[in-house]
Symmetry: C2
Amino acid sequence: MKVVRASKAGFCFGVKRAVKLSEEASKKKGPVHTLGPVVHNPQAIERLEHMSVKEINEIREARRGTVIIRAHGIPPEDYKVLESKGIEIVDATCPFVKKAQDYARMLHDEGYAIVIIGEKDHPEVRGIKGHAKEATVIETPEEAERLQMCGKMGVVVQTTQEQAVVGKIIPILFNKTKELRVFNTICSATGERQEAVKGFAGKVDVIVVVGGRNSGNTRRLAQIAGRIAPTYHIETARELKKEWFRGAKTVGVAAGASTPDFVIDEVVKRLESY
Amino acid sequence: MKVVRASKAGFCFGVKRAVKLSEEASKKKGPVHTLGPVVHNPQAIERLEHMSVKEINEIREARRGTVIIRAHGIPPEDYKVLESKGIEIVDATCPFVKKAQDYARMLHDEGYAIVIIGEKDHPEVRGIKGHAKEATVIETPEEAERLQMCGKMGVVVQTTQEQAVVGKIIPILFNKTKELRVFNTICSATGERQEAVKGFAGKVDVIVVVGGRNSGNTRRLAQIAGRIAPTYHIETARELKKEWFRGAKTVGVAAGASTPDFVIDEVVKRLESY
């Protein structure tokens, strides 16, 4: 069986940067915590834990030492809480997410009703929402249809959304307002990984998508892959099952922006042994 | 045969205002000219000519007296030419068109690459383009596809465009830029007249659209009507042909924003006599 790796797969710029900043922070004196998992990938987290970078889930758990803000970013209130506690902040917010936060704040200041296209409960979206002060989060054309009319509407997009889905939402929003101002904050890494998966069309019999089940961008990769060929979303090589590939001549391997290379390598190796 | 008149038809606010201003201007001393037809309707123009309001087609033909700027508006350079000649200006530019011009100017000042969705050679679009300084005019999704990528794109719309067509163009423009800012300058009168025609669906056997052949908004009404039932676009009752209505039980009559009531009345009367 031939194994084809997606031309773009694995860590994006923002995740690489966050992991690097976390590794550097691990050398600091005093406790070093990350507020939530630095990346949505259990295997990458495990490595950091070996370097004594521990995860906390609530800001109130942070008392002293250093807190790493992960690539997804946080709302402005959370910065204030950390600062008031005298905690050192290592800000690993992805620069592309920061841009989305900045646009949200600017749109708020200029009086726009703000719509965020993204996953309601995703930390990135919660962070952007905080910077927008007030915002409505939608993810589907159906949710867009239910929005009220407004005078001027400002839109920012979760960096890992699918361009085509957002493209379906935009004309619906256009019908809901006299002025529509959209910042397309989907990052290029997202588009590249999604295009790489689409490139599998007609070339592979089965697709394996590797990455955290809690990773939004990996889940969307798996959705896109599922439209192209039978698709399995796994976190590690151990989950692979030989019978998935019965009769398959070629298998495509894709991975989200938060999947470490060593995890992808293991999957490819295992598949090549079949 | 039953004749149903569209719930909204004929002169809109901006046209009524332009005709009223022209009638008032006719009483002024010295020659009174309109720069191009005040409204795109030969029958309405005829009435004004009886009041000695004469049409000129080129700004260089204006030498003295008064010049009426029609509802479609003009580029800023043309104001300057008229002012430099000491000509009195009666500005009958539709307030909704003026708004589109203002947005175009503002988008230019804020550094947007400007796209106007509308008819390239329509005077309203030429006027808006003048206020934008530089702009690309497109009218179809195909033309939108051919646009270059740009950093930030500002969009204004000819006031008489069809919302649904613009809605198809918007997501294509979204793919061409990082920031899309659209002012939906389609006026409510346009939407109302188009909706009134759509309301004929399933209720009439034939549609007659009344209005100038040089009227963009009337032409679009006829296009929309044509998707619903066999449609005839006429300028006056004299063009009606009995055979168009053979076997028809109900006929719908619609009219553009530049069609005078007396012209619609004549059409309805003639149809009722069949």
